[in-house]
Amino acid sequence: MEAKEIIFYLLAALTLGSGLLAVTARKIFRAAIFLLFSLIGIAGFYFWLQYEFIAAVQIVVYVGGIVVLIIFSIFLTQQAGTDLPNPPLRRIIFSALAALFGLIFSWMLISQHPFKPGAESPVAVSVANIGSMMLNVNDTGYALPFELVSILLLAAMVGCIVIAIKSRTETAN
């Protein structure tokens, strides 16, 4: 086995194992931490594929942003330290069966599918290229999705503020 295969399987084990632990963990904080390791594993895959930019973005967004937010919201809720209630055995068995079925089903389909290697050779994606494509308003550019995302973020921000803002009458009382 070559080094790259070993690394691949290590990363896969990290991602899948911690994903499984995240689902089965009984403490919600632990679940968040295992989710974090799963996401780091995915970032590792991007590094392994030499898409460093996406890997770094994955870490910045998921590890530095989303998981920190999740952990903060866990901190701010009551009873974060207590164990989650044990799900009924029936539910455990059936959800395990469903997950197993899904796994085997998609694994069968994917392993039987003859994937054709793409015609184009892989391109080295430089950060400068990504930047200029994202802001390119010409026909080949990706300015449209970029702007769409910015509207989405604006709307999400407005929504969050509206939901979270304390109304003035409330503070007065």
Binding site: M1, E2, A3, I6, K27, F29, R30, I33, L36, I40, E52, F53, A56, V57, I59, V60, V63, G64, V67, V68, I71, F72, F75, A80, G81, S126, V127, A128
Partner: protein
């Protein structure tokens, strides 16, 4: 002349010719890991000693002076003490996370060593997203701190961790923006490109006032990010006993302590690379004779000299300024530093487009 890069080349060719690629790669991993660990140990010893001496100097004291000649062995003795101490796990703690937390912090610090150029051609991994890698991987450390705070089952720890998390997440923004302002001037994220662009002068000189503003903001932000005074709310002794590592003792505490100093070293190294030219000697424009003299000083000395100068500045902060309150801290970031650095990025962009820099 012997330089660090020739040594690495020799090792590289020897490994390549003796072993098959897989084993050679593994051996390189091991060697890099060992080197980083050794560097950390040395850094820990040196920086702690330096801190104590600097603080003593600031307060007109002598500082440690009993163990060894002029107290040089003081930190070694401290380390020995920490190693011998019993590592306690408080009752009700989440043992697994409690044990894991110091390693997460430590590993993130170790990963950050990868793209740093210690000397000319002496760098572990010159990846093309260099500084982005640094700012992304450094965010993993927050998780370690949050883990430590939560799993200790202690409200001081939890409060300290939350403060630290809020602080790091917010100050990351202005640190990132001031890094970006240099990236805009260079046009690349790669560490080697950034250093090469400072061949004819460091960015702090070439970039006029915007670069100086960025440098100052960077220093403030990284001081906050490493949880050091005057931003040490996360472990404010008078309020929270010791913040997120209140419950830690022995070796685990030592790891946190070491990671803190390693992080200081890393951010200062990044600052030196971005603003002060990394290992690049001090050059003035086209003054050939002067530049040649400067080139005789080895690049590693330039690098460590600049880095330790920045570390000294950060220590200076610690012993000069009083601690901020949490609301003052957040106000400083969100109401002052962030708008200023955003505006500064704009200025730098204009400067880069108009080619106003040297």
């Amino acid at each position: 002349m012997w330089s660090l890069s020739s040594i690495t080349d020799i090792v590289q060719t020897w490994l390549g010719s003796t072993f098959n690629p897989t084993i050679a790669l593994l051996l390189q991993f091991v060697m890099a890991g060992l080197l980083v660990i050794t560097l950390f140990a040395v850094l820990g010893l040196v920086l702690v000693f330096m801190e104590r001496k600097v603080s003593a100097y600031m307060q007109v004291r002598i500082g440690p002076n009993r163990v060894g000649p002029r107290g040089y062995l003081q930190t070694a003795a401290d380390t020995l003490k920490l190693l011998m101490k019993e590592g306690l796990v408080p009752a009700g703690a989440d043992k697994f996370l409690f044990n894991l937390a110091p390693y997460v912090v430590m590993i993130s610090a170790m990963l950050l060593m990868a793209p740093i150029a210690f000397a000319k051609d002496f760098q572990m991994w010159d990846l093309n997203i260099g500084v982005l890698y640094v700012s992304s991987v450094s965010s993993i450390a927050v998780i370690g701190i949050l883990m430590a705070g939560w799993s200790s089952n202690n409200k001081y720890s939890l409060l300290g961790a939350m403060r630290s998390g809020a602080q790091i997440v917010s100050y990351e923004l202005s640190a990132g923006l001031s890094i970006i302002s240099i990236v805009i001037l260079v046009g690349s994220l790669k560490i080697s490109d950034i250093i090469a662009s400072q061949q004819d002068g460091w960015w702090i000189f070439k970039g006029h006032i915007p670069a100086i503003i960025a440098f100052v903001i960077f220093l403030i932000a990284v001081t906050a990010e490493t949880n050091r005074a005057p931003f040490d709310l996360a472990e404010a002794e008078s309020e929270l006993t010791a913040g997120f590592h209140t419950e830690y003792s022995g070796m685990r505490f030592a790891l946190f302590f070491l990671a803190e100093y390693a992080n200081i070293f890393i951010v200062c190294a990044i600052g030196a690379t971005l603003f002060l030219g990394g290992w690049m000697p001090f050059h003035i424009g086209n003054l050939q004779a002067f530049n040649h003299i400067m080139d005789y000083i080895p690049s590693s000395i330039w690098f460590f000299g600049k880095t330790f100068f920045l570390i000294f500045v950060i220590m200076w902060f610690r012993w000069t300024f009083p601690r901020l309150r949490i609301d003052q801290l957040l106000n400083l970031e969100w109401k002052y530093l962030l708008p200023i650095s955003m505006f500064n990025v704009l200025l730098v962009t204009i400067m880069a487009i108009m080619k106003w820099h040297f």
